[in-house]
């Protein structure tokens, strides 16, 4: 089953994205802890796009598709602009982040630790960041 969501590139819309992911996953028997971490990972990628790719320009759009399969869930974050490839991102050392006092830099570390697979697809003037999570249904 595929669920779709569309929103404007404003930070205030992150809450709507989280609610959409949460409500969708609630229908598929995942544990509360799994849902919360998946919601976080999707939030991080969308926040990164909204802030860094689109400069919080709410005339731009971001689309999300959740494809629930038997053994995994795929989250497609679809953009008309090229998406920064997280896989090429070298995560900074936590100690270095703390020493420098900087506030950013850990979001993509979270995404990599939460998701099982991160892919970047292009085609049809669309750029897709696909996050895959293998699912463990709660008893």
């Amino acid at each position: 089953m595929i669920y779709r969501f569309k929103t404007r590139c404003a930070k205030d819309n992150l809450k709507n994205i989280r609610d959409f992911v949460d409500e969708t996953l609630q229908q598929h028997g995942l544990s509360e802890l799994d849902i919360s971490t998946i919601v976080l990972a999707v939030d991080e990628v969308c926040a990164n796009l909204i802030i860094h790719t689109h400069g919080c320009d709410d005339t731009h759009e971001l689309r999300l598709a959740i494809n629930v399969k038997d053994d995994r869930i795929e989250f497609d974050i679809i953009d008309n602009s090229e998406i920064f490839n997280i896989n090429t991102y070298k995560a900074p050392d936590l100690d270095e982040i703390i020493r420098s006092g900087r506030k950013g830099g850990v979001g993509l570390i979270l995404v990599k630790r939460i998701m099982d697979k991160i892919e970047f697809l292009t085609g049809d003037k669309r750029y897709i960041c696909r996050l895959t999570k293998k699912i463990r249904l709660s008893a």
Binding site: K11, T37, L40, K103, V106
Partner: protein, 112 residues
Amino acid sequence: MVSITRTSEDGKEVMQVQGEVDASSSIELDNAMKEALSAGQSKVMIDCTQLEYISSAGLGVFMSYLEEIRSKDISLVIYGLRPKVAHVFEILGLDQLLEIKDTRKEAEAYLA
């Protein structure tokens, strides 16, 4: 989305964080932390019993003050994290870098 209340109690700075801290609201947590650490108290307690969600933007705020906390010899303790929120701290390993307690009583005992 986030509501932060600061009070001074028995020589301690107490900050209560309610709601959701994400990329749109982390600035409020940042401002409150800045003010709390500048208030001159050497003991700071952060009540997270009503914190429903935190993203990397919020975690980043806590991380960015770790050096200041250490250099000013401030004792800072976070308490009352809900399991889902606590898990986010654990994924990054921040539970090893910050003093985190389950209850206010435990937090007060740590600062005593």
